[in-house]
Amino acid sequence: MPSFLTEPEALLPYAEPGVDPGPDRQRRKLPDAVAYREALQHPEAHLGFPDLARGSVARGRDGLPLAYSGRFAVVFRVAAPDGSAWALRCFTSPDRLSERSLHWQGVARYADVLPTLLLPVRFLERGVRVDGAWYPAVAMPWASGEPLLVFVKRHLAVPGALTALAESLGQALARLEAAGVAHGDWQHDNLFVSENGRGVTLVDYDGFFTPDWATGAGQAIEIGHPNYQHPGRNAESIGVGIDRFAYRAMRAALLALARDASLWDRFGGDGESLLFSRQDYAAPHDSRLFAEVRRLAESDGGLADALAELETDCALPAPTVLPALTLRPEVGVWVRDRRVRVPVGNDDGTVPSCTRFRPYPERLGAMEAAGAGRRNVTAARAFLLAAALSIWASAALTGWSFFTAVLAAACAHWFLFGYYLNWPRKRVWDALHQELGKLTVEVAGLEERKRAAFEGPVGPPTCCEAVVRERTRESLQRVSISRALAAPGIRRETVRLLRSVGIESARDLSDAGPLPAPLRGGAEAARLRLWCRETERSFAERHARNVSPERRRAARVRALEQQIARRRRRMRELQAEGSTIRGAGLHAYLAAILMGRA
């Protein structure tokens, strides 16, 4: 394995520009394919990883780097100095970019579990530099073998190769499912075939599903190539088993082609599908292709089985996602799988907390995304118009009478309380300020208590005596009676005797009335009492030091300070959040209504 996949990334051959790949990157627009292609013309200056920076990029006839475009990324082929070929995948879509590094770490883990089927991948935080800024990229070895359609076309006259390929696809699916993962986009451009149909490699892991990293909040970023997916597949259909439909479509197509290669020219061969297309799945009974394959299946049991499975799947309203293989978030384990157990959660072993409220700007964003702001402003506009009309009508009919004034006041009241206070931006703004106000009051109260604690009387020492006594007794309880052996002149027999009458600890000794007969009055009893008193006194002194009134007061002040600091911190957060919300005053609202700047 080339060093590339394991070597730390930090070894940059030149000084780092002051570009912080911070949280803003999520919103930053990524370079497009053209910008990446320009950067790749000088790998030595624009690639972050030394092996790649020293490598050479595959170029076309016009001298420009060859690009392989997809919806989310563009791929370039880079030859490292040792001659190995690499695929460098540069992202062009910022969709969930912040989650990508975790996603690819998850994929990388399974690439180790499923060698040859998956290629080892490496997420590079500093993959490509475009216009002075670093962008992440993913590097993986260039897939060997032929793309699916090229292989099939070359082997149309070799039915054995096609059935072997169908078999290998089945094994590939079984391996994925056993590992508890799914690829999500089985299609002709993502499957590479080698060893005469006996080796299969999957590339393009943008839609890869891993149990610990369910792409996003259990939602898929893409839903696969329509000519290989169930028509009912949507963002929610993600999970183990999502590749079954594509596999069944491919198996039926391969077995049918093995029986009758002429299907290729009549139904496939356009580079968009193997045989079946989206229209075939949507209406298998109107499909000429399905009819042809059914006819072939009359004399081929394997094909008949494959076709029946595909038709059964097509009849379902949605693709199959294996139900038992679901996550149990509370324990964070993959329920059914026996081979791979990956905990759910952050890399440091903690489970992400869900208890915090969403920040206010996010809440506002969600409300506005749902169109609440626009609805409110539109309704307010209509209301203002109606109010103006009715006031005008009233004024025209009754003159500027008391009734008109009341009507105007009612309208203003209604406008303020019915519309303005319900304007999402105002509501979020108010909620934020309500919390801020509550915190301010609380902080003032706490400050007052802190001052009182600080300035008030220390309190009589007696208030602490009971505490000291109690703690001393607890400590004595933990001192075994055997420890008395350490004191001079105490014999083992004595300790044994004490134990026999139930005296197990220093506290028992201290509480005990008269000692058992053989000891009573003896010098040893006096020594025992002395040891007990000494122990008790040392504990009492220690505890008295800790619970002195001064200490108690200091601890109390510290606790209050912590509470105040916590509230202040939250207030600063709120102020920062508030500063990102644009004005929510009445004038801003009126501007939104009149000028349409919602």
Partner: protein, 278 residues
């Protein structure tokens, strides 16, 4: 539902570019003093063509998901590319890819990573030369485009509707272009009406605007008129624009001010579909 046709090689979609080449395009562009508007237009269209080519590229293989047509207007209306692709009203993208006028070496200044600037030669394919001459027959150009687009739609009735992109500084000399653009927007395929988008190249140094949903805030009457001529983005493209971090709203239009709308090309689903926006 409109604007849902799958784009594939049997059912490609098309991009038609209307390029303002009038004398006014000789004016300086923005604050970038050395650059004229027609240079900015030539750069924008060459880059858009590169984007289209790359969107369809699988290595050496450029798949014909798109067809491209161009209409230039400056003094007169001229259709077609220059060079080997001339005399063609629309050209498959693979032929566009194979036949640039030339591949230029441009020097690009960039951060050398150590605080300084360094110049590096960058290869840049060029299909269009900057050109500025005569008056601005935008209305005539839109009418000419309508005929070409009409012909295309009859050839590919099942395709995703073609996208027409007009790049101009917005000062026509042959009357009001609005009726002509309304007529253009009435053409379509079975999958919906064509999409007419406008890119306004302006000498004013205002910040770029993309996909606005109202003419409020646009710098001048020309920008406002081009905005009003532009098609409203179909919901699917709005979703995609939002997903990509643009602030698009349901009635955002395909209009850009001093920007190049190249993101639109990325938004079209080819092959793998994107999931619906949450």
């Amino acid at each position: 539902m409109a604007y849902t046709a799958e784009i594939n090689r049997a059912k490609p979609t098309a991009f038609f570019f209307l390029i303002d080449q009038s004398g006014s395009m000789d004016d300086p562009y923005g604050l970038d003093s050395g650059k004229r508007k027609c240079d900015a237009v030539a750069d924008a269209i060459n880059r858009l063509l590169s984007t289209l080519v790359l969107r369809c590229a699988k290595g050496e293989d450029v798949r014909d998901y798109f067809q491209v047509g161009v209409v230039g207007y400056g003094g007169a209306v001229r259709t077609g590319f220059s060079g080997p692709l001339s005399q063609r009203q629309f050209v498959p993208i693979s032929e566009v890819a194979d036949n640039p006028l030339r591949v230029e070496q441009r020097m690009r200044k960039e951060d050398d990573g150590a605080g300084g600037l360094v110049e590096r030669p960058v290869r840049f394919p060029v299909w269009f030369e900057p050109y500025a001459n005569g008056n601005t027959p935008m209305t005539a150009a839109i009418e000419e485009t309508r005929k070409i687009v009409q012909a295309w739609c009859e050839l590919y009735p099942l395709s995703y509707p073609p996208v027409v992109i007009n790049i101009s500084d917005g000062e026509p000399t042959d009357g009001n272009p609005v009726p002509a653009s309304e007529a253009l927007k009435q053409i379509g395929t079975n999958d919906g009406k064509i999409l007419f988008f406008n890119i306004h190249i302006s000498g004013s140094a205002k910040r770029p605007i993309e996909f606005p949903d109202s003419e409020v805030g646009l710098p001048d009457e020309f920008a406002q008129r081009l905005f009003n001529m532009s098609s409203v983005l179909p919901p699917r493209l709005v979703d995609e624009a939002r997903r990509e971090g643009y602030s698009a709203a349901p009635n955002s239009r395909g209009f850009a001010f001093n920007a190049d709308l190249r993101a639109l090309i990325q938004f079209l689903d080819i092959g793998t579909r994107t999931a619906e926006l949450r």
